[in-house]
């Protein structure tokens, strides 16, 4: 039992928050697309593109922060291409996502091998990992300090995005329009909202965020690129967006849950002698479980709404009868 509790430490919280960051960034991107009514299943490919372009740009620019920016631009451009194909040629979004996922997985390795020879993963000693930042006053708070301080810029930026997205979606005009488009596209267009523009913006923002999440993996967390580095995190992010009902705060909590599941499985591998392959199942099992919870939640919501509707009908019926 002692061995079991030794798993829970501050380091576990720290690594949980770190591992949640790429999922959070991509999930926020997925959430804004869902709010705008465009299904973005290509988060995985945008993450992987960000991871690859980010480390490449960091190498050529000699600056890792520059690498992050270039990765975001690349992800945004991929989002723009997505929006163009969707709006102009009415391409099926699911098939489009599958095509892009395949292209990016293969193309990144293709380019890596074409540039650096026949290698399975690539890194260069000149690349600098994004440094961790200790926040002056917060780091001295007992208990909370070590949990809140000591991450790199991307982690803090992802928290900022949560707040900004919340204000944009629920406190600003543009965000209300965006949600209206997702709620009912033709109604929003009738009142003069430019739905295509808003959906395009959502796809571009989502691409940039997911790519930043990918760059976190290649230059923020590790310092290398390997084949299929995102390793399904983009798909987990889609589940996280759904789990957090596409609300920035909800998505934040959902991503933390998946980050902790990930950190927990890493930690268990270190402290116990359970077979690592079985422990690695944890995040996937957690995601499957969450998908089932999401489905049951919406099923209950529908049946509640139906019951409310029925009782309303009943109440109106009796009211009409008494008036007579």
């Amino acid at each position: 039992m002692e061995g079991f509790f030794s798993v829970f430490t501050v380091e576990l919280l720290n690594s949980g928050i770190r591992l949640a960051t790429p999922i959070l960034l991509a999930a926020l991107g997925g959430a804004i697309c869902n709010q705008a009514g465009v299904l973005n299943l290509a988060l995985e490919s945008k993450m992987l593109l960000g991871a690859f372009v980010g480390i490449l740009a960091a190498f050529y620019l000699g600056n890792s922060y520059g690498g992050l920016l270039v990765a975001m631009v690349a992800g945004g451009l991929l989002g723009l291409l997505f929006a163009f194909l969707y709006h102009k040629y009415k391409v099926d979004l699911v098939i489009l996502a599958i095509a892009f996922n395949l292209i990016i997985v293969e193309l990144t390795v293709f380019v890596m091998r074409a540039m650096f020879g026949n290698v399975g993963s690539w890194s260069d000693p000149s690349i600098v990992r994004i440094p961790d930042i200790e926040i002056p006053i917060i780091k001295d708070i007992p208990l909370l300090g070590p949990i809140l301080s000591g991450y790199n810029l991307i982690v803090y930026f992802s928290w900022l995005v949560v707040i900004v997205m919340f204000i944009y979606l629920y406190r600003m005009r543009g965000g209300r329009h965006l949600r209206a488009v997702g709620e009912n596209l033709s109604a929003a267009e009738t009142v003069g909202i430019n739905a295509i523009l808003l959906q395009t913006l959502a796809l571009v923002a989502s691409g940039a965020l997911a790519a930043l999440g990918g760059a976190f993996l290649s230059i923020g967390h590790l310092k290398l690129f390997t084949r299929n580095m995102s390793n399904g995190r983009g798909w987990i992010a889609i589940a996280a967006a759904m789990f957090g009902v596409n609300h920035p705060i909800g998505v934040f909590l959902a991503s933390l849950f998946f980050g902790f599941a990930d950190a927990f499985s890493v930690r268990i591998q270190n402290v116990t002698d359970l077979p690592p392959n079985l422990v690695k199942l944890l995040p996937n099992l957690a995601t499957l479980l969450v998908l089932i919870i999401i489905a049951m939640r919406s099923k209950i919501a529908i049946s509640m709404a139906r019951r409310r509707f029925r009782s309303q009908l009943h109440a109106e019926g009796t009211a009409a009868a008494t008036e007579k």
Binding site: L85, L102, V109, I238, N284
Partner: protein, 366 residues
């Protein structure tokens, strides 16, 4: 009547053919960027993927061998799609089917013909069970089948890694693998030195069976109607839910069969890295093959040839990374999805042709 049928067939293959041509153009662009010889690359790709250097040593035979599991996973995707289930769980079902076949291949001992049959049956059962999970979750609870099958795929891949490293590990060699299956369980191959054999015949039979099921039986009709329009099917008295679950079970069984054949006919065991994305390739061949069994059959052979040509030809002879093959396949899917791009222009040309023919008919009558 005949010309109408011909026109329908042309319509069905026009977009895939144009998409493949566009994909080859993209490949040319990438090769030019790499500063490699363009025309030589095409020649090598096709000669190494589909060619025959000498009689009895055909690379095309290898392409057929590689196409065998692809045909079956492609059919698996077709059956699922045609019921309206967007399942991409072929990979997981394929892996678990392979695992049970590899285990029963050395754990039990049976006479030659019976042994493969038992293995295939077991793999189909396991695959069907693994397909049933997302099916029932979708129908009873409304769990998104795409996400559920992706998670089930990763779970199956990790289970395989666990099995070959611990309980099923054959010996203490550097790469973990299970013991070789009994001779009685191995599938015969047609030519010495090749692994193209009975498995391919089974795949061809599966193409025919799936075609008959989907277009010639009541259950298949119900399933296709449920896939096209749930509401229409409901009004017609079709229980689309049970049709969807049935489809997922059949789909899983086909993918499991693919795993068993790959073990019995090619590898004779399972090892780390057994999963190479075959399930995903099956999915793409279903999309490109217009979710039709015969389309899948053609596309699966084409894909295997392209990948083989990229691996044996472009990588070994010209030093072009073999990932080019996969990249091109991805672009081809993209072009199929953007089929409107072609169709708009095709219909414009067709309108113009029709107008001309009408004008000429009018001229004659006058």
């Amino acid at each position: 009547m005949k010309s109408k049928q011909l026109r329908k067939l042309l319509d069905a293959i026009l977009v895939p053919v144009l998409a493949i041509l566009s994909g080859l153009v993209v490949m040319g662009i990438l090769i030019v960027i790499l500063k490699k010889p363009l025309f030589e690359s095409y020649a090598i790709l096709f000669s190494k993927g589909f060619g025959c250097e000498e009689f009895g040593n055909c690379i095309f035979i290898t392409a057929l061998e590689r196409a065998t599991p692809l045909i079956l996973t492609g059919l698996s995707a077709v059956v699922a799609f045609r019921s309206g289930m967007f399942s991409i769980g072929q990979e997981g079902q394929y892996l678990l089917g392979a695992a049970i076949a590899a285990y029963l291949g050395y754990a039990i001992h049976l006479p030659p013909i019976l042994h493969p049959l038992v293995l295939m049956l077991a793999a189909m059962l396991v695959g069907a069970g693994y397909g049933w999970i997302p099916g029932i979750l979708k129908v009873k609870l409304g769990v998104n089948e795409l996400l559920a099958t992706i998670m089930l795929n990763s779970i199956a891949a990790l289970i395989i890694e666990y099995l070959v490293q611990f309980p099923m590990r054959g010996d203490r060699s550097t790469t973990a693998h299970s013991p070789v299956i009994d001779e009685s369980a191995q599938l015969m191959s047609f030519l010495p030195g090749s692994k193209w054999g009975v498995g391919f015949v089974i795949a061809v039979l599966a193409v025919i069976v799936v075609y008959i099921y989907l277009w010639r039986t009541k259950a298949g009709y119900e399933q296709r109607m449920a896939g096209q329009s749930k509401r229409f099917a409901l009004f017609g008295g079709i229980r689309s839910d049970s049709a969807a679950i049935r489809a997922m079970i059949i789909s899983g069984a086909l993918a499991g069969l693919a795993g068993a054949i790959e073990v019995m006919g090619v590898h004779r065991r399972i090892m780390t890295g057994f999963s190479v994305g075959l399930g995903f390739d099956g999915l793409t061949s279903a999309i490109l093959g217009q979710t039709h069994p015969i389309g899948v059959f053609i596309v699966a052979i084409l894909f295997s040839g392209l990948k083989l040509g990229a691996q044996l030809g472009l990588q070994l002879k010209l030093g072009i990374p073999r990932e080019l093959g996969g990249t091109i396949i991805g672009f081809i899917i993209l072009f199929v999805a953007a089929g409107r791009l072609y169709q708009d222009n095709i219909s414009r040309v067709r309108d113009w042709l029709d107008r001309r023919s009408i004008r000429s008919v009018k001229g004659e009558s006058r």
